[in-house]
């Protein structure tokens, strides 16, 4: 297995990107020529520093991108036969695509703001849950947070955390729904 240096791979990637702007019949030859030059640059004995050779190879590849981008578009695309009467051929989907692209562009900032707000809300909610859990774990006898209630069975804190607000389980294991959580268990309330 042969391993190319990182600079060579990067430069080849850039050149591959550059030749995309060329006509199809020139791409292969241009890439072959540039690959040969890259090898010469990276193994140039006149430049002792490897870093300089690598930098030069990257600049060499970037120069090709610059030059191929400046080519006129007519040179990079296959020629289209002219329509009779001098009419130009246009795709019927072109206006639809253009309008959808414009709509997507205008909605992008709004979607970004909504997404950011959703992320912040989720973070705040998660942090409040973590805080509640910590309070319950570290101070079982303290006042519980507003969203949770410390039940009379304090042996299992995980059990407490999984109990939703308004739903309380009695000592016998039966669940009941209360409008307001009881402040202290009474024998009457625990009776089946």
């Amino acid at each position: 297995m042969t391993r190319c240096p990182l600079a060579q791979r990067l430069a080849e990637h850039l050149i591959r990107h550059a030749v995309r702007h060329l006509p199809d019949d020139n791409r292969e030859e241009y890439y072959r020529e540039c690959a040969g030059e890259l090898f010469a640059i990276l193994h140039d004995s006149d430049v002792p520093s490897r870093l300089r050779r690598s930098t030069f190879a990257l600049f060499y590849a970037a120069g090709h991108i610059r030059s191929t981008r400046r080519l006129p578009k007519a040179a990079t695309k296959p020629s289209m036969p002219a329509l009779p009467g001098g009419a130009t051929r246009r795709s019927p989907l072109r206006p639809v695509l253009a309008s959808s692209r414009a709509a997507a562009t205008s909605w992008r900032p709004v979607a970004a703001v909504i997404g950011a707000l959703a992320i912040v809300a989720a973070g705040v909610y998660g942090l409040s849950q973590v805080r509640d859990n910590l309070v319950l774990e570290l101070r079982p006898g303290s006042n519980p947070p507003a969203t949770t209630q410390v039940p009379h069975d304090k042996s299992s804190s995980m059990y407490l955390l999984s109990t939703p607000a308004g739903l309380f389980t009695s000592a016998t294991g039966q669940a009941r729904v209360t409008a307001t959580p009881p402040s202290s268990p009474t024998p009457a309330s625990t009776a089946p």
Binding site: E29, R32, E33, A35, G36, E37, F39, A40, I41, H43, D44, D46, F59, Y60, A61, A62, G63, H64, I65, R66, S67, R70
Partner: protein, 108 residues
Amino acid sequence: MKLTGPLERVLRVFLGDLSARQYGYDLMKATKLPSGTLYPMLARLQAEGLVTSEWELQPDDASGRPPRKYYQLTGEGARVARLELAQASLAARPNRQSTTRPAGGSTR
């Protein structure tokens, strides 16, 4: 063909040794031109028939390097290059003469 500064440098390198075949990196080093300038210029010269290119058949050394593409000035290219460079030097000469100072005693 409009003779620009970079093109003049390239032609001078080619005319320095007409029989020598040059590859792109050689020309870049000799002319100190970036690849983004040199290669389009070579392609233009080739399209005008002033430069020919040919691929190296087999690399001489066994380093595993890929074959190179060599460029060489054609006969017509050499003629046009000499002519253009001569015209450029002629055009530059009057400017140089105009900047010289007049003979002493004629001023003041």
